[in-house]
Amino acid sequence: MTASPALPARPDAAAPILAVRDLKAHFRTNHFGVKRYVKAVDGISFDVRRGEIYGLAGESSSGKTTLIKTIAGAIKPPLEVVGGTVDFAFLPGYGGLHRAPPAEVARIRWRHLSYIMQGSMNVLNPVRRLRATFADFARSHIDASDRQFEQAVVDHLARVKLDASVLTAYPHELSGGMRQRATIALATICRPDFIIADEPTTALDVVVQKDVLGMIRGIQREIGSSVLFVTHDMGVHAHLTDRLGIMYAGRLVEEAATAEIFRRPLHPYTRHLISSLPRIGDDIQRKGLEGSPPSLADPPPGCRFHPRCPLAMAACSERVPDMVETEPDHRVACFAVNGDQAP
């Protein structure tokens, strides 16, 4: 596996738990004559290190969800992986879940890789009590007697401040926050190495949200998992994540430690995202970006941000800027920041 030139090998760090290289996942649809070729994920590379919470930010329809679906191996037509690799440390040698044999994938699911889904309102089977759902997902991965397993689940639920009685409940009998906490418990019961969390708090009200975020952090610390945390909410990222990647129109445009990004955003898009965060006592009308995110079916050439970019130059509409590590651990793809390194 050769590393992309934009991402030099880092001999000093431990091997990353997830290494994504030049991943391309496209939607190819031909529906009633409307042919679409949507480059939802178009050449993305990044690493997630052991024990960190890696945030992924971007507007809706920037390709975040497609990216994590691809990583999680939930690839169903019309989505297809066109190129690149996804390597988990616990699933070496295949270059992605989608390429691994089903038995292997089944082995690692939940034990090593779990998932907290967007809109967890509907992720729990409505006609199944939680006890059965826990058994469905986790029983086969935990080598214990039934009673021990039950006890493990109850203990684990306590971590997310849920009473054992929720096990006998149906999902609809729980409040939104409880349901989300139950989902988190479900995703972490097997102490997985890697958790993918897709907008887990979006639908919750602010107080509950904070609570839930705290729990994710707490559990993550306790069991030492890595988390790939996706949300459009920069505020959440600021609270939670260790490192942050910014996506725009199917590509990663900037990546650095979260604090670094908030302190010194380099990419014009990142700057826009951060400056649009409200601050207390700030009554200045924020200047919005002009235009709207591009259609991924027909993206603009060169840097996809250039039609909306205040710093756009001639090269931006011609070539795609590479991710360049401008400072240690801080990568950005922008000609305005890195200069045009055209040959």
Binding site: M117, R128, S140
Partner: protein
Amino acid sequence: MNGYLIYIVRRLGQFVLVVFIGINLAYVITHATPIDPVEQSISAATSFGNTAPDAIEQMRTSLRELYGLGGSPVEQYLVFWRRILRADFGPSMSAFPTPVSTLIGRALPWTAGLLMISTIITWVLGNLLGGLAGYYQKSRGLKLMGVIAMGLHPIPYYILALLLLIVFGFLWPVLPIAGGSAMNLPQTWTWDFISSVLMHAILPALSLILIGIGSWFLGMRSLVSNVVTEDYVVYAELGGVDRHRILTSYVMRNALVPQVTGLAISLGGIFNGAVITEKVFGYPGIGSLLVDAVYAGDYGLVLGVTTISIVGVSIGVLAIDLLYPLLDPRVKVR
């Protein structure tokens, strides 16, 4: 649980109301028949014989008396309800003086047996195959099943039944085509009788299954193809939940909820009988009893069959409503 109790009571009230309205409607409709049971009896009794015309009038009078057609409409109505409450439907007019309940009692086990078993088989097979076809949308075999189900579904039942009869009763005569059991076989619980009943039920049941499976199949297939896109199914797949478990407890279990309602109503409907099945296969049952009774203007018998059917279907609907919260816990008891 208190809420559920109130719900049960309220629902039982509705059940009683529906049954009451239904039986009354049936009473009105059956009494609107233009067929005069007396005339029908006389015609049947004298159509071949040489009966003096002046004797006919006397017969009319005595039959009218015998059949209890005297009395004002209100009196007749009250007598009817008094009998119903004692589960007595009075005597049949076309088989006077045999009680209606005796006639129904003879026919009902055949009908109930055949229809209950074939309805359940149809339902199970249709939903199973339909569910599989919805889940494994690429399977060629299941696609073919879909086409066959689609093609069988609209064939007029009479034609299908007659075809089966010709194929298995004449061209390749391996199955009995008439009656509920072999002739001259005493109806006792011997192996001979039971196996004969089973053999005789194959063709009627097969015809009912073939014709009925399509709608369950198609319905279940489309239900399942909706359910598989639900978040909880996708999530379970991501969670590496056993595929078999996903298919049964996640996909089928959710898709089945509306199908169970259909099953209950079809099961209630078995009291209507299957007239054409009985006609084609000479199978004993309540359907031909009903049609005969309608012909004969025997509204006592019609009303008896109808009442049982109304109660049967109502119980089916009631059972579903009471069980629905168990089937679909989301439905809150009002």
